[in-house]
Structure formats: structure tokens, C-alpha cells
Amino acid sequence: MTSAFFGLQTSLRGLLAQQQAIDITGHNIANANTAGYSRQEAVLEPTRPYLIPANSINNGSGAQLGSGVDITAIRRIRDQFLDLQYRAQQMNLGDATARTTSLDQAELAFGEPGDDGIQAQLSRFWDAWSDVANAPENAGARSALVTTAQTLTSTFRAVSGQLTTVAQQAQDEYDAITGPSGDVANMASELAGLNRAIGDAVFRGQQPNDLMDRRDQLVDRLSQLAQVSVTDTGDSRWRIAFGGVTLVDPSTPAGYTWPQTLTTPGGKLGALLDLASPTGAPLTYRSQLDAVAADLVSRVNALHTSTPFFDPAGTTAATINVAVTSATVQTGSSGASGANDVAQAIAALRGGSTDQMYQALVAQVGTESQASVRAQATAQSLSDAVDSRRQSVAGVSLDEEMTNLMRFQRGYQASARTMTTMDDMLDTLVNRTGKVGL
């Protein structure tokens, strides 16, 4: 037979378990809006039953009497497979975002279509030559031409400088992220610390849910920067490969190794490295702009034979320069005041290869920028979709928590009622029995 107080203990276990479940629900509600939080769930299991060896008076067979409930674990609800998908998408998103930002800046550098872009300046340059052709003897027209040409060359230089800056900014951002106190170093150091804390907790038989959430969140962020892969070392600690090298390794004394040279960056860092390289988009645009400048210089100088109109040494967009003054502008081959054949020939370059090369370049910049915006939108929506599925599994639903709250509260009330019943029974036994005839 069981003790007379057995039922009290069963009720108490019920009370404690329901109370803890309410605490967990409270924790979930409190973190309903916390980024990276995975909802937690109390795993309720019946406690070990009480063995009554000869329960039946009739046949003497034994029985197992339930002894209540216990919370065996606080489970973190999360789908590791969705994490993998999410991180792969984050890497694409990081890559696309870095490219979009950079290409957007490059596109803005050209300032097309507009009144201040190279196209408009070229058009004014040809206009100025036509004006000189109409009035070759007029010093005013020649000096207007020289001023217009100087504005054109300074616009070339400005656009070239801005494209260089765009590439430099990508390099600077890469350096900042990978530098000694950059994001990668900070995250690696925090991940190494989390690895230790999680390993210790798991060793003691605990499940460090909130630390694991934090670690998952850091790996999410890291995956935007470069290709990340995670291996569990068997004790819930993670070895993390980052851009082709091992970044976090619990078996090393520091727990992480940084700085290192990434072999296969991918993600944002890969995109930044690519953008900063001489074959990256900004510097490719710059060298194409150099070709436009060189074409302009060679075509105008070939016709302006008396003295080079543009400095022949400056054949890049950064070095193009006007070499003539209003007095040395050549209007005609004969040198007569009204001779305008040279000016006519140069004005006839309007709409020629220089304009066409430049227009093709702007169209290319526009196409690539547009493609990067689309790629980013796609990466964003894929990432959102996976995140949504992940949220569907791990996120907190207030409706659900409210239902749980009611459930556990009712459970608590019922357990308390059982306890009261037990108390009443004991009261009958202790205070009301043995009083016959008193």
C-alpha cells in the first residue's frame, strides 16, 4: 500500500511542473519580439511509477501507481535544416547587396541622363566647335571652346575619380570587416566563448537554449559575409569553417583563428574583394571610360594638326587635359582668319565613335546595375521565404502561448484542487476519526 501522504506529493509535482511550464510560457512571451529567439517548450513526462507489489487482495497481483509529472527537459524548437538553407540564402543576399550598393554608386558617378554628365558635355563640346566654325575669326568663340573643353575634361576626371573611389570603398569596407577589431574578429571571439559555455553546460547535463540561440544568430550574421559551414564536434560545440578556412575550432586554445586569408570567400566579402579588384565592375567601367577619353583625344588631335588640342600624354579619363589656349586653337588648315575646315571637321565628329562608345558604356552600367538590383530582390525574397519558414517553426505565436498559459493555469488550479482534496482526506483521518462517542 502507498503512504497516506503519497497523493500530496503527486499533487505537488503537478503544481511545480505546471508552474514551471507557465514560467517557460512567460519566457516565450517576453521574447516574442526578440530577434533570433527560438521558442522553448517544457517536455512533460510522467515520473517513475510507484510499485505496489500485492495490490489486489483477490489475486495478490501487483500494480504500478503513477506518481505525477516531471519536466525532463526544456526543449528549444528549431529546424537545423532550415538554418542551413537560410545561411546559404544569406550568403547570396550579402553578395547581391554589396554589389547593388557599389553598382548604384558607380551609376550615380556617371550622372546620366542629365545636364552635367559626359554626354551633355560632349554635346556642348561639339556645339562649341560648330560655333567656332561659324565664326572662326571670333576670339570669343574660341575661348568659349577652350572653356567648354576644360569642363569636359574635368568631368572625365571627376567621373574617373568617383569610380576609383567606389572601388576603394569596397576595399575599405573589406578591410574594416576583416580587420583586427572588425566584425569577423568580434564574432569569432564571441563564438569561441559561446562554444566553451555551451560545452560546459552540456557536460553538466543542461541544455543552454539561449546561448545556442545566440550562437545560431552569430552564425547567421557570419553567413552574410562568406560561405559558412558548421560541424558539431560531438559535444554540442561547433567547428566553423568560414570562406574556406577554419575560423572557430574548439580544440585550439583560443577557440578561434583570425586573421586568415580566405580561400573561397563568397558572400559579402567575396563581392567586396571582386568589386575592389582591377577586373571588378567599377574599375572595368573606369578603363572603358579611359578608352572613350583616348578615342576623343586621338580623333580631335588627328584633325587639329597645328598643335595637339588635348595633351597627347593624357590618354586616360584621369589624365585627359586641354593643351591649347584660345590663341592656339586651329580653325582652318590655311591659317586664314575665316578658314574653318578644321573646326568643321571636328564638329562633324558629333555622334561619332566617342559618343557611341560612351553611350554603350552607360547602357552597360545601367544593365549591370539593373541586373544586380533584380538579383538582390530575388535573393531578398528567397531569404525572406526561408526566414518565414524558420520563423514558422521557431517563432513565438502569442495565440499559442496564450492557449498554453490557460492550459497550464488550469492544470495548476486542478493540481491545487487535488491537493486540497488530499488535505481534506487527511483532516478526516487525523481530526475526525477515533472520536466515536466523545
Binding site: N33, A133, N340, A347, G351
Partner: protein, 304 residues
Amino acid sequence: MSMRITTLMSSSAMLRDLNDGMDRLTRLQDELSSGKQITRPSDDPYGASRAMSLRGELGGLDQYQRNVDDGTGWLNTSDTALGQVSNALQRVRELLVQGGSDTAGASARNAMADEIDQLTESVKQEADVQYGGRYVFSGTATNTQPYQLGGSDRYQGDAGTVTRAIGPQVEIPVNVDLHQLLGDGTGATDGKLLDTLRGISAHLRGGTPADADALRTTDLQSLDANLDTLDGIRADVGARTNRLAFAASRLGGLQTNATQLLSNTEDADMAQTITQYTTQQAAYNAALRSGANIVQSSLLDFLH
């Protein structure tokens, strides 16, 4: 089993939708306020490059139009001057016919010679006419006075051709080689206008029978030949003026076309954009309203 929807999911999805809606609204607003559907190359790379090329073409057409105007002014100036020369020569011819008759006395012939000298100077003056500060009959030596008044009859200009570009690879000469009409005066004995006029004046003053004979025969023939040349030159100027007028109207048509194409390429279609804007605004408002309802309500609202 249906997908589990969490609180954060519905609010972040709503936020994303609101952002998208706002983004579309902002783009349409940009189009409406700027009147352009292409404000940067990535809006429509092909359209942008087409717009740039059309804009360049339009700039060229404007410039050709200005060139035509300048050329027309140059030719009009030339034509007026040639008209004056023609009038002067008609008067010379009258005087020549009078002076060639035997009835004219010495003093009358001298007076005629004086008038012819004056007319000769006025012809040279017309040859020195300027357009925009440039001598139109000096060839390309536009800063050099072609004939010096009261001095030598020698032509000071050159034989260069002044041209204006009125289209891609189309150049039209706008100056007239007046030297072929006027020549270099007495010393040159080239039979040109100034030589002839100086000869007539000398023959009138000479008074010998040979002079009178020359006045009636060679001088008259020579003057008529020069008048024919002048008429030819004036016809040529008129033809070129007509050609410029035709070019101007053609350029005007091309300008209208290019402007139209440019507008079609880069200008926003207002009716369409406003309709889209209104639609987007309605969608955005609906998203806001439903969002406000979704985010607020949960089971919490119904528990007491």
C-alpha cells in the same frame, strides 16, 4: 497541416509589404514629379542609351539649325550688296550710253566720268560689306578688307571658300567669289568690272574719237558681259538661299521627330502613371488598414 504563423512573421510580412508598397509609390511619385520615366540608366538601360543618342542627335540638329541661320544671314547680306552693285551698274550703263553719243560735250563727259568714279567707289564699298564683323567677299581672309576705298583696286582677300555645315557631312559654301566679277582694276587689264569701269571713266575723259568708239563698242560689251556675270552670281546666291531655307524646314521636321521620339522614350506617360499611382495608393492604404487590424489583435484581446 497548415503552416504555423507566428506573431513576428505576420508583423514582419506586413512591414515588408508596406515597404514594397511605399517603394512603388515613391517611384511613381518620382515619375510624376520629374515627368521622366528614366531618371537613371538602370531604370531602362536600352531606353536610357536611346535617349542619350536622341539627345545628341537633337543637339546636332539645333546646331545645324543655327548654322543654317548664320549661312542665311551671310547670303542675305551678300545678296543685298550684289543688288546695290547691280543698281550702280545700271546707272553706269545709262551714263555709258549717253557718253558714247557724239552729242555729249567735254564738260558733260567729265561730269559723267566723275559720277562713274563715284559709282566705282560705291561698288567697292558694297564689296567691303560686313556680316557680324566679317568681310563676306574676302574669301576666308575675313578680317581683311577686300578692296581699299580710294586706293588700289587690287583684291586683298583670298580665293578660300567659307562653308557652313547644315547636316551630317553636308557642307554648303556661303560666300561668293566677287573677285571673279570685280577683278584687280586697271593695271590688271583683266576685263573685269573694276578694269572696265576705270576704262569707261578714262575713255569719257579722253574725248578722242578712238575713246568715243571704245565707249560705244568694247566698253559696252565688257559692261554687259560683267552684268551677265553678276546676274549669274545673284542667281547662284538665290539658289543657295533657297537650299538653306529648304534645309531649315527639313531640320525643323527632324527636330520635331527627334523631340517626339525622345519624349516617348524618357517622358512618363502621365495618364498611365497617375492611374498606376492611384491604384498603388489604394493598395497601400488597404495594406495599412489591414495591417493595423492584424497586428493589434491576438487571443489576448478576447481573454478576460
